[in-house]
């Protein structure tokens, strides 16, 4: 009853809003015209959204990145369990014959040689078609992710989306094979390092701008480093910052998946 009342109140209030796309509404009278008229001259970036996100509102995006970074670190602190408890049952596959061995607690586990492959007990992904398809598709997904990051100046996209797609390709690898082989490829240490590296790239770009006696995150200060005029330097600065954001988002997505899929144990999982 209260919910219906509050919902009705919200809908009633929304009639007071300015019309959609109204040129006289407060949102499009103060600062939006400046962005629309001057973005191309200021930064030589055709996509206004990217320019606003990474250049005019650079602080905002930096702290968004820090929020994502903090979320990943908090997940590690809260959910990761470092105490290794041996599972009751382990499954191994003898590769030459394809026979599955079931070894209970107390039994002798075969060494992880080229003959034995450990399987998940909870969920056994053994599909040749799935594995081969994913192996074929994953490089294209990753190239698309890099394209989204690098092409954010001209089309929709940017660090967040590209980073998520990049993370999704690694998650796809972990689903199609298993979690242990994904961790063997991209270890926990590496992914945590990448997570901090991304924030470091973003904040470091800002500090680099300060070293050239400009404001924090004023990329036109980087003109001397790139050897271009200040306007293109802002465009290049946006690209560097987007790469930093992409690395953070990719790393945090993979961290979250590793932890959630294995209940913090990084051993067996989805």
């Amino acid at each position: 009853m209260l919910t219906v009342f509050l919902g009705g109140l919200l809908i009633y209030c929304s009639f007071e809003f300015p019309l959609w796309g109204d040129p006289n509404s407060p949102a499009s009278t103060h600062v939006s015209p400046y962005y629309i008229e001057n973005t191309l001259e200021d930064t030589s970036v055709p996509n206004i959204v990217t320019a606003v996100l990474a250049d005019y509102r650079g602080y905002d995006t930096m702290f968004e990145t820090v929020v994502i970074f903090t979320a990943g670190i908090a997940c590690i602190f809260l959910l990761r369990t470092f105490k290794t408890v041996d599972p009751d049952i382990r499954l191994y596959r003898h590769i030459p014959t394809g026979i599955t061995l079931r070894i209970e607690k107390g039994g002798k586990f075969p060494e992880d040689s080229s003959h034995f492959e450990r399987l998940d007990t909870v969920w056994i992904p053994y599909g040749l078609i799935v594995k081969t398809t994913c192996r074929l598709v994953i490089p294209f997904i990753q190239i698309f992710a890099l394209y989204v990051i690098a092409h954010g100046h001209y089309s929709p996209g940017g660090g967040f989306q590209g980073g998520v797609i990049m993370g999704a390709s690694l998650v796809l690898y972990a689903i199609a094979f298993d979690l242990r082989s994904a961790i063997r490829r991209v270890s926990e240490r590496l992914i945590t390092l990448l997570c901090t590296l991304g924030v470091f790239i973003y904040a470091g770009t800002g500090i680099l701008c300060m070293l050239f006696e400009k404001n924090y995150l004023d990329y036109s200060a980087l003109a001397n480093i790139f050897g271009v005029d200040p306007v293109s330097a802002r465009s290049h600065g946006i690209l560097i910052v987007e790469i930093g954001v992409g690395i953070v988002v990719m790393a945090v997505m993979v961290i979250l998946y590793y932890i959630l899929a294995s209940a913090g144990k990084h051993d067996e999982g989805l």
């Binding site: 929709p156 967040f160 797609i165 689903i175 998946y257 959630l260």
Partner: protein, 81 residues
């Protein structure tokens, strides 16, 4: 934009959101939430916010559904009590 399509998508958004709250099974709720995100992404695209639509498609419909499913995978199907 054709207003019929907008209306259909808006109806699907509302249906998906209500059923994602109402359904008992957690896995179904996760999948319904993914469908909801994808329909929201179409709505953003219709309203001309292409960047937001892209983010919604990759984050909402893509990775968050996977994370939900991974979290649901750790729960048991039926409650113990």
């Amino acid at each position: 934009m054709i207003w019929q399509i907008e209306l259909i998508i808006l109806a699907i958004v509302i249906i998906c959101s209500i059923s994602a709250l109402a359904v008992k099974d957690l896995l179904s709720a996760a999948i319904l939430f993914g469908a909801y995100s994808f329909m929201m992404c179409l709505l953003w695209a219709i309203m001309g916010a292409v960047d937001v639509a892209f983010t919604e498609a990759s984050v909402g419909a893509g990775i968050s559904t996977v994370l939900f499913v991974a979290a649901v995978f750790q729960t048991s199907r039926r409650s113990k009590d």
